[in-house]
Symmetry: C2
């Protein structure tokens, strides 16, 4: 059983081989893609793909391009999220955002390039092992669904709309739709993809999906909590500025105690989904504990 740090280090080692060399074709694009993709980060999503494949006794090496593709998609979404037309952020992980370094146009293209490269990377594995084409097609389809116009991009679109024009009266429903799309989809669909790669049964896929969804909500809820806990420390308040601004977060909808209850609830759901895997789910159980520990 590997740890998150071990999987993340594997991903870190392998990511560069799927990227065009910085100097190839004299393209700023290549520098811009590398700048954001190789900027570190937890490598949580690709590590979860690899861990799920190993938990189901699939082939780690075969899963590597799929895991790295998931990280490319995550990175493209951050580059586009940071753009002036979206969140207009100037810093990400302590470094200037992509468009601050390469300009807005090249940052848009770096995102587009990484999304395309994610698919190229997964499809290339099909050339290596054409006899596995059916499994690959369905794994790629899962990831495309999570990333796509009914998944992550839909969540971002809703989030942007609510931020600009206010959220609907049913704020709880609105919050769940945004967080399911923006956050949970890129956990649950990649996990389903891992299940397909490892030839998991329908029940296995459903359990992975249920875990991924609950983990995504847990991830977002603890993130939202951390934001206010951090701010509370700084300015001695119990609610952060997001809660006051009416921005749609777990805190603004459920309050701090309500969000803590949500964390317990999603944790229980995530653990229940893992039961069928017994001791082999240790990696995923540990992740859940890590999340809860963030806000203790």
């Amino acid at each position: 059983m590997r740890t998150l740090a071990e999987y993340a280090s594997l991903v870190e080692q392998r990511l560069p081989e799927y990227l065009p060399a910085a100097e190839e074709g004299g393209l700023i694009l290549n520098h811009a893609m590398r700048y954001s993709l190789l900027a570190g980060g937890k490598r949580l999503r690709p590590s979860m793909v690899l861990a799920a494949v190993e938990m189901l006794e699939g082939d780690l090496e075969e899963a590597m391009p799929f895991a790295c593709a998931v990280e490319m998609i995550h990175t493209y979404s951050l580059i586009h999220d940071d753009l002036p037309g979206m969140d207009n952020d100037t810093l990400r992980r302590g470094r200037p955002t992509n468009h601050m370094v390469f300009g807005e146009g090249q940052a848009i293209l770096a995102g587009d390039g990484l999304l395309s490269l994610a698919f190229e990377t997964m499809l290339a594995q099909g050339k290596k092992r054409p006899e596995r084409a059916e499994a690959y097609l369905s794994a790629i389809a899962e990831i495309a669904t999570g990333a796509g116009a009914g998944g992550m991009v839909a969540g971002q679109s809703l989030d942007l709309e609510y931020e600009r024009n206010g959220s609907p009266a049913d704020r709880e429903d609105a919050l769940f739709r945004v967080q399911r799309g923006k956050t949970a989809c890129m956990f649950l669909y990649p996990l389903r993809a891992a299940g397909k790669l490892a030839e998991g049964t329908e029940e296995t896929l459903r359990a992975l999906e249920e875990y991924g969804r609950a983990f995504g909500m847990l991830f977002q809820a603890t993130d939202d909590l951390l934001d206010v806990l951090g701010e509370a420390k700084e300015v001695g308040k119990t609610l952060g500025k997001d809660a006051q601004s009416g921005k749609l977060t777990c805190i603004s909808v459920f309050g701090v105690e309500g969000t803590r209850a949500l964390v317990r609830e999603e944790r229980a759901r995530a653990e229940a989904a893992l039961e069928r895997f017994g001791k082999r789910a240790e990696f995923f159980l540990e992740l859940v504990r890590k999340m809860e520990n963030r806000v203790k």
Copy 2:
């Protein structure tokens, strides 16, 4: 043998079924994607995919999601090209550009959504006919290569860079690299995908590729010529503003007569590539004639 108008009309009829309904989930994203994808246009690229599949006695219906996906990718590239951070265009085909209607953030997401949806659409065909997974994987891989970080996106990145920072001393080489990436890749790789769908031989794929490359160059050269011929009519000049501004176009690199020579050259190349298909290549021969007639 169908005509371009007939194929385009087929594409027009079928495109909506691959899109989420406008009202689905109350998403502005769906309106924004539909606004640009269903805005008409020549439907040239998807028609060429369908025509190539029929020329090679492949299955038209099977090719439909691939053809429509190619149009989605073309449309996403136009939405992103028009953004303030790129070309900053306010009109496209006589209508306000996507970001003028939906705002910059939603336009970025509409492009992202269409690119993802293109892959989702192609991958979904794999669920319908899993026994064809290997052919589909390799067809999708061709399209991803054409659209991706070594294809269309690379061409856009170079174009943007040269526009902002000036082009290199070897302007001819720079022009070919930009036009190959920006324009030719989204003809030649979709044609190769059609060849894979129809189980074409390596020689067939190479002929389609050669035709697609030459056609792309012809398309771009006649576009550049049309720009100056149109302007010359308007203002009585023989060279357009692009030529004067030093922007990298066929006209600014080769002049009007040189560009006409290039048109003849690429036409001859395109026709030579079609020889092996004999009379069955009529659709593609006609396209070449149409291009040349634009600038007669």
